[in-house]
């Protein structure tokens, strides 16, 4: 794709590499549409100053919204598993593969994301350490929300009260963790100046060649080549 830079003769040539399927992008935004109202209606029970929204008819309404959104939230992974099971398995495998490069990434992340020092960033596969951690926590959170939510919805009076109490507690713990993760995800994906391609990739399903090369070397060059390049660069630096 060629883009002419406004008010100049410069023409940028960008090669785009596909990253997400149409279904994945659609489900990502479905997930967002479900998660945000779930979090906001949950937050009402968390913040004493929002109490009036939990009372009476308002409270009944937010509980209905919470339930409708919960069904949507639970439906997204189920739809994904039905429609693109191979892609889903591939993703789960990728999410669960961690290596020593992830420790290096964690060390280099703050200097990079806060101070813009890219030199120490180790090569990463299609999803970097942070993205994979985010995904693992979200999957675990979905499981906890699913079990505890359904237990509170349909189990009241059936399960022993003490089990119900533990369900409330676990739901709250999952809430605190996933909402904090969401805030970080939102910041990095939407606000952070270096990550301007993330919204593009979730809209059009592609990232630019240069972005893939710099941020996901193991994906762009292949794992072996990327590691060789990293070692070479490291070797030169230490000499």
């Amino acid at each position: 794709m060629s883009v002419r830079v406004r008010d100049s003769q410069t023409v940028l040539h960008i090669r785009w590499i596909p990253k997400y399927t149409t279904l994945e992008r659609f489900l990502h935004w479905m997930h967002t549409i479900a998660f945000v109202p779930l979090a906001l209606t949950g937050l009402i029970l968390f913040m004493p100053w929002l109490r009036s929204l939990a009372q009476s008819e308002a409270g009944v309404t937010i509980r209905i919204i919470h339930r409708v959104a919960a069904v949507l939230f639970g439906g997204v992974p189920i739809l994904y598993a039905i429609l693109q099971p191979r892609r889903m398995i591939m993703h789960v495998r990728e999410f669960l593969s961690f290596s020593r490069f992830d420790l290096l990434w964690l060390k280099a992340a703050v200097p990079y994301y806060v101070f813009g020092r890219h030199a120490d960033m180790p090569p990463q596969p299609r999803f970097n350490t942070g993205e994979r951690l985010n995904a693992v926590v979200l999957v675990l959170g979905t499981v906890v929300f699913g079990i505890t939510g359904l237990a509170m919805w349909f189990g009241r009076g059936v399960i022993p009260p003490v089990v119900f109490q533990v369900m409330v507690l676990a739901h709250d713990i999952a809430f605190i963790i996933t909402v904090s993760m969401f805030m970080v995800h939102f910041y990095l994906a939407v606000i952070h100046p270096l990550m301007w391609q993330s919204l593009i990739s979730m809209r059009y399903g592609v990232v630019s060649e240069s972005y893939a090369r710099e941020h996901h070397g193991m994906w762009y060059y292949g794992e072996k080549r990327a590691k060789e390049m990293w070692q070479q660069r490291h070797h030169e630096e230490t000499q």
């Binding site: 109490r51 009476s56 009241r156 606000i191 100046p193």
Partner: protein, 266 residues
């Protein structure tokens, strides 16, 4: 704080006429329900959204004598009321007189009160399981009567004089002397007082002629540990985590904006 009010319940005088059940339904406009004979005079079988008090029947044989125990069930109006703490709508409140009151209009039907109550008292009337529409309900010590100088309806109606209402300290003294009397004069060596210290002191003071467990009362009711963890640790902790995350992201954003040259970003 005004002097705490309480209900005195002398199970040794109760004859299970269940007049209190009727008076309660009448005063609060609670409909009766169709029940079936299960071979006991105990009826209805449990507390329900339309049954805020009821007499529980228990048979008790300690080896020496047989007793038919009658326990007037209902909200205990605990000083440390977990339902008040877990209620997200403040429909459940403490009054200065120690009543645990309930505002039906505020209730959103979450049902936490009934699930956390150590006595399982609040009853949830679920009108739609799918949407969760429901209303909780429980004994409110006839707040409308007792704040206007009247006794609760059940106390007023009790023909056996088993019930009394008034200043908690006075009723405590009355209960203690009654327990002594039952032990010494009436041949109930196991007579005891229930409710003096449990959960910070209950709003119901029971004179029992057998151990609490024989009545189906928890021997040592406890404020649920989960509720403490949830209310005292997790909720404030969560607020701190959310605040810190937002503050961290803001700080990172301003630092990043200062440090990152956008020209280098392709």
């Amino acid at each position: 704080m005004a002097d705490r009010l309480a209900m005195y319940i002398d199970t040794s005088k109760c004859m299970a006429c269940r007049g209190c059940q009727v008076a309660c339904k009448q005063w609060h406009d609670l409909p009766g329900s169709q029940t079936v004979n299960t071979g006991s005079y105990e009826n209805p079988p449990a507390l329900a959204p339309n049954t805020w008090t009821r007499i529980r029947f228990r048979e008790y044989d300690d080896g020496e004598r047989f007793q038919w125990l009658f326990l007037k069930e209902g909200c205990m109006h605990c000083a440390e009321a977990v339902c008040v703490d877990v209620c997200p709508t403040a429909a459940l409140k403490h009054t200065p007189e120690g009543l645990v009151t309930f505002e039906r209009e505020l209730c959103n039907g979450c049902g936490y009160c009934g699930q956390f109550c150590p006595f399982g008292v609040p009853q949830l009337e679920v009108t739609n399981r799918l949407t969760g529409e429901a209303k909780s309900s429980k004994c409110v010590f006839c707040q409308d009567r007792t704040t206007n100088g009247l006794k609760p309806a059940c106390v007023k109606t009790c023909p056996a004089n088993a019930l009394d209402w008034g200043d908690r300290d006075e009723l405590l003294a009355k209960a203690r002397s009654r327990v002594d009397l039952l032990k010494t004069e009436w041949g109930f060596p196991q007579a005891n007082l229930y409710g003096e210290l449990e959960l910070g002191g209950l709003g119901r003071l029971y004179v029992l002629t057998a151990p609490p467990a024989a009545y189906g009362l928890p021997t040592a009711p406890k404020y649920p540990v989960v509720a403490t963890l949830w209310q005292k640790l997790l909720q404030p902790g969560g607020q701190i985590v959310f605040g810190a995350t937002i503050a961290g992201a803001l700080a990172a954003f301003f630092l990043a904006r200062r440090n990152i040259e956008m020209k280098e970003v392709e």
